[in-house]
């Protein structure tokens, strides 16, 4: 094998590796990306756009990943950092602002017993409550709900575990209170 052939083969191997990594990460984390997008933007088209932005950032970052952090914490860093920048642009585009009230109405009498619908509505309340938090609180609670450990959240945010714990207590109380209020209103 001459030098040029070896070089072409190395490039094509690294390209294949990049594709495989991308497909695996998307398959594993697409649900998490969608949930993350929902706490940054409200409009469903904006959410899809945001997931795509994150996917693009991920694709560009794969060749630079050196394994200093775990793959999971690295991916969440990319996702949140991209979401911060992209959601500012999406907000400027206006769609998100105009769709602030795009929250499902309370279920009608006839569907009151439909558990799935009620769950979906409660989920939307939770998303809205998280969207109303500041960016740092939003990032921390999202990571916590994705079941990352305090240590992982520390790696992602750069905050101390103590600061994360204190913030989480306050955020959980606030979210729980808001969900309770909404439930009372629904009854």
């Amino acid at each position: 094998m001459d030098g040029a052939e070896a070089s072409t083969r190395a490039v094509s191997d690294s390209d294949r590796g990049r594709r495989e990594t991308f497909l695996r990460l998307i398959s594993e984390y697409r649900g998490a990306m969608r949930r993350l997008a929902a706490v940054y933007v409200n409009d469903s088209r904006d959410r899809e756009d945001l997931v795509q932005e994150i996917a693009v950032a991920l694709w560009q970052a794969i060749p630079k990943f050196r394994g200093e952090a775990s793959e999971r914490t690295w991916l969440y860093r990319i996702a949140h950092n991209t979401a911060i920048t992209a959601s500012t642009k999406l907000r400027r585009r206006g769609r998100t602002e105009s769709a602030v009230d795009e929250v499902p109405d309370p279920p009608a009498e006839s569907t009151h017993g439909d558990k799935q619908l009620i769950d979906s509505q409660k989920r939307e309340w939770l998303m809205r409550a998280i969207r109303e938090l500041g960016a740092v609180d939003r990032q921390i609670v999202t990571l916590h709900l994705e079941e990352l450990s305090y240590r992982e959240i520390q790696e992602i945010t750069g905050m101390t575990e103590g600061a994360i714990a204190t913030r989480l207590t306050r955020i959980r109380e606030r979210l729980a209170e808001q969900i309770r209020k909404q439930e009372v209103e629904l009854r």
Partner: protein
Amino acid sequence: MSQEPMNDKLNDLWRSEAPSSSRLQKEKEGEDMLTMVIERTRKFDRRILLRNVREVVAAAIVTGIFAWFAWKAPAGLERIGDVIVAASGVWITFYLLRSGSGPRALDPGMNLNAYGQLLHESYDREVRLARSVKYWYLLPMYVGLAVVSLGMGLRLHGAGQSARPAVVSMVIVTVGFGLVWILNEVYAVRCLEKLKRELAGME
């Protein structure tokens, strides 16, 4: 209500989505996403390349034209002005290539705290660049064109002709450069400051 059950409730709500797609569907979605990502990355790279080529070509044209004018200039002062404008074209290209004419891409793999700080710094840098346009972009060319107009005016006056063409060309240049200055100093800076405020508001 104790903390733990409420915590469980939040976790349940967080994950209460429609059932996830089948393995085959997931694979198809992943492939579609990959196709889209590759296409968007290619388009983006092409756009950046075209922008850089456009800037260099525009500067080369300005430099070429004014170098030709300098060669053919009838008087010394006009020649000096033309040389200044031609040199400005080279200087602007160098400045743009050195400092980058668009926002610098940040590494999204860094921690959120560090990224946030760098994002702020990057907006500050863009604001500084837009505010300094008058010095590194407009001023050298404006000075060159002013010297050309002055030279033309003196030459026409010396030949007993009206210096009006020189005055008119200077007025047109001043208005044009003024508009570019306003676009950068007022409009672009205002947009960037708004972005910065929005970013700060999210924190």
